[in-house]
Subunit: 337 residues, 4 copies
């Protein structure tokens, strides 16, 4: 950690800072420049977290050198994490496709969806049973009944299922039915929920918060891993910007950055990430082209009858067409589908 | 609701849309313009929420006319909501000051804080027992022990206390000790938590999410009220923008907008909203000048020894000076402190 | 245009609005709903632009139906615009690569650059002679001398050249030397400059402003076209968001949206768009995968000796490798390179 | 400047960096920490600007210590800059109000406006003759004719006038008529224009760009001052964020930050900053409460007949009321109006 003092710091003021750092168990390295005095703190930067150096009036800037995350980092673990869900492996050379309706609505709907996506070559079935909705008056999902229908769709097709958990109290029941547990964008910094899913023995897919920085996203994954569950999948799903021609601004730049920073696999949700069904096709191709390990795509047998987010869902036909086109892209980047 | 069709819609396509609207129980009003056909849906717009009109290929745009919130709206309730907490009333002509340390750290610290803010004229004591922290390795708060210390500080000074709840499972215990329950910015769309605090009989202060729109903010309050708890206080605490000279961008524009849109009282947290102790004074004055019903301000007896957010905390001395200056501003806008 | 009145509008108030609209030469269509009265204005919406309907106290919202741009729109011209620059055609099935150093620094540097990119298969040489720099104390470019060197590099390789113009007064001299004139991101709404390049007979590449909406971007192109110059190329180069792991947030979503909205070709500048040389490769692939008609890429013979933006420039070797990989992607989306 | 190397840098790699720094004329200070080697560059940081250290593969981060601006900084000049325009002084204890219509439309309109604002106690008349408009089809201002009418309004009332210049070629004519020249938000980084107004002998008001950082804003002012014109006024006018209940997000936080960083006076344009006439009153009060040296406010004799931005203009009556209320706020912060 580097501490820049304000101009004209006296020796006494310099000492007050170095003493504080030493008390935390680090060494200091003082460098008096032409205009400013700079103090380097050598040792475990984590020990300085609570030191409140910035609250000292003589301190101008505090600049951390080390990354605040450890378990998620590529430096901690060089090789890619591969997450096994039944026969499916996430994080290998094969690109994995998760697809299905936004919400589970009925037995027919979810089984029809599962069969359609399986036929087109998708690997995992998605479907919401507990739905986070902006309005308290909107359909909130079928709850446990929805989880049971997901299990039936899995039985019917052999596809593993992923579904969202919204509250610590519901972690056990969702874990009972799901193969992968999803933590949604609005809960990315629900730290109690992160700890709770960190204690179970099921893979977790963590969606990036709408305004999460890279650091905040990785620290949220660190929360889960710090509790013992190392099977974490990251998911980019669009950020909030001034742009209003898409519901969110899908931030594909984070894909290659994450591949450098972390060993965890990266999925891109191009349906929520754009909010427009006509953009799912091109942005799914782009996601794979820049290195995503998989995609999450909304497909509904009858989008115009969906109970939520029908305007961003593909039909079975357009999904099938997309899968064919994605095959060409995965080949072009030396991967399989 | 107004539905704009794409250019060159046929009569059959127009009919497909109007029939869908009628099936939901609304009337339609078709207007064929020079270039476009526009359909007005007359009746309860809420009934159209699940209609997925945008998923119909012929539909270009869907424009709601009505606001999606009801209970929170000024149209639903004209007069200001006044929330009573002991002898303190929030939402009247008197501006209310909540102050105290970011986190409860010890009996001495919290009681000293409470006495200091009371002496300067503040009305409510703040202090975190359960702390949302970006890193799993940071101090997470004293938990129930912290709640007990807050209660002791209340006993010692008579000041009501406000503290944060982070999880549905902890609502009962926090409600046991606190006079006002705070839902933090990262939980603004933790819908289960919103429902849980909507079922208790204690005032709730809801902090705006870092990237929450006006509508999302008010809908989150609507969640709480829809469960029966109408004692909701709104709190602006800064939004996420590209600006990096403040930790967050305090968005004071929302204060007068909220005063128009809703009857609920508005508090501004100028400490988190700026993240810099040197900005708390000017931005607190500005908040009152544009109509805030109160302020939340971090004050720590020894900021440079705080366990969290020391760099945005005032000292007792600078807090006392601020209170004196705020008195002049409240007078200037015809209010009291 | 649709005008929504505030609740409880009287007949007199409704009439005041319809009269204003009629005076502008449009017809009106009044629809009284359960809660609100809505007025449709039928006719040329452009005539209402100056009507200041929103300034009338009874008006709640004004919602335009028509797009404000015409010449740039896909509705105005169905087929893709193809721009010819020497033997190069921009806007066809072939993906076009513009490459070269950020700034022209010397004869050797620019000719070496031109030869290197030509050898790797690039089509157009880029290089700045007039450089927009944040600081008045930074290198501002070689000016006319730089233009002459670009011309020499063109003579040496046959590659057309693109370079930036920063001021109306410099349009003639830049047009004298360049094959394509670039308007930079900071000048996207320099309306005098847009008009000036609209009057010349050279293709113009318009870079998106850092915080430009889709509408503002297309309206800036409309300015150029409205003066008679229809050879406009659009260029996405990253927007400003809260993200700080890239210099800008490359917004690839706009690529497929632009392909729908306009007939003009779309180029993506992945060097400025990310600001990191290690992201140029993956984001260039992604750009083509989602439909870009070309790329602009910084390549410098010796990036660590560049006078500007060396940290986002590729070396000749990494550029050559990228060109090979892009060939696979263009094939995968049915295009050529 | 501090240069952080990547983990495991060899001595040879360290030397390559220190040699490069020494070649630029600075001294180095190498500090080997537990995990990283850090190099401090001691001397004139400006000399390192073109060094492209970040383009060296072994360099991880480059962190400047010094501010990139000089002439604008409070460190360069301690006391507030006071700008004299006729009898009006900007930057003293007196808060200065600039008001008038968005655009000059006619002799009657501008003279009526000038008289109205003078009567209410405003100090400077604003009015656009050259108007930057998003659409090429909108009213672009009266041009030189508008400048002449502004001069007549000055003659009629004695109020100095401020008006915008949009292009280097128009600087002489605008300088002929105006008392203060305004550089608009879209031209904040039109560096040729900044240089041009830096060479004249008239005060310049520089509006913040829609997505300008603090540094970019101050560097733009530095451009003007570096040409010799030190009479620069800064103007906050709202930034672009995700918020859509205001046209722009007025960023008042920058006011106290600018008062610390620079000696130049700060004006807030609350009309453009919010885009809503009903927010001008509260946000004008807030601006003064947090330290602004003045305000720019749109006032139109008949807002609903304005040729531009009528929806953000006050009427003479509401402007007069505001002036009375502002008097109370200026008193409360120890200033005059």
């Amino acid at each position: 950690m580097i501490i820049v003092l304000k101009a004209k710091a006296t020796q006494k003021e310099i000492d007050s800072v170095t003493e504080k750092i030493k008390k935390m168990g680090l060494k200091t390295h003082v460098s008096k420049g032409t205009d400013r005095t700079i103090i380097g703190a050598i040792g475990d930067e984590g020990l300085l977290k609570e030191a409140q150096l910035k609250a000292m009036p003589i301190v101008d800037k505090v600049m951390p050198i080390m990354k605040p995350y450890k378990l998620v980092s590529r430096e901690f673990k060089k090789e890619n994490t591969v997450i096994k869900v039944g026969d499916v492996k996430i994080g290998t050379n094969q690109v994995i496709i998760m697809a299905g309706p936004c919400a589970v609505e009925s037995k027919e709907q979810i089984i029809e969806s599962a069969k359609a996506i399986k036929k087109s070559g998708a690997h995992i079935l998605r479907g919401g049973a507990f739905k986070p909705r902006t309005s308290p008056y909107s359909f909130q999902g079928m709850g446990e009944e929805g989880l049971k229908l997901l299990a039936k769709a899995r039985d019917a097709t052999g596809l593993p299922v992923i579904t969202e958990v919204m509250d610590t109290a519901e972690v056990p029941i969702v874990a009972d039915y799901a193969d992968i547990i999803q933590v949604g964008t609005r809960n990315m910094q629900n730290f109690n929920l992160l700890r709770a899913v960190g204690k179970i023995n099921k893979p977790v897919m963590l969606k990036r918060g709408m305004s999460a920085t890279l650091k905040e996203f990785l620290m949220a994954a660190e929360y889960i891993m710090s509790e013992g569950n190392h099977n974490v999948i990251l998911c980019e799903r669009g950020i909030r910007t001034f742009c209003n021609y898409t519901r969110n601004t899908l931030d594909l730049n984070i894909v290659p950055v994450l591949k450098k920073e972390t060993h965890l696999p990266i999925i891109v949700d191009t349906s929520h990430g754009t909010g427009r069904y006509d953009l799912v096709n091109p942005m799914s191709k782009a996601s794979i082209a820049c290195g995503a390990d998989g995609l999450m795509i909304e497909m509904h047998p009858k989008p115009e009858e969906a109970t939520s987010d029908g305007d961003q869902s593909l039909t079975p036909k357009s999904f099938s067409k997309l899968m064919g086109e994605l095959k060409l892209i995965t080949n072009a980047v030396g991967r399989t589908l």
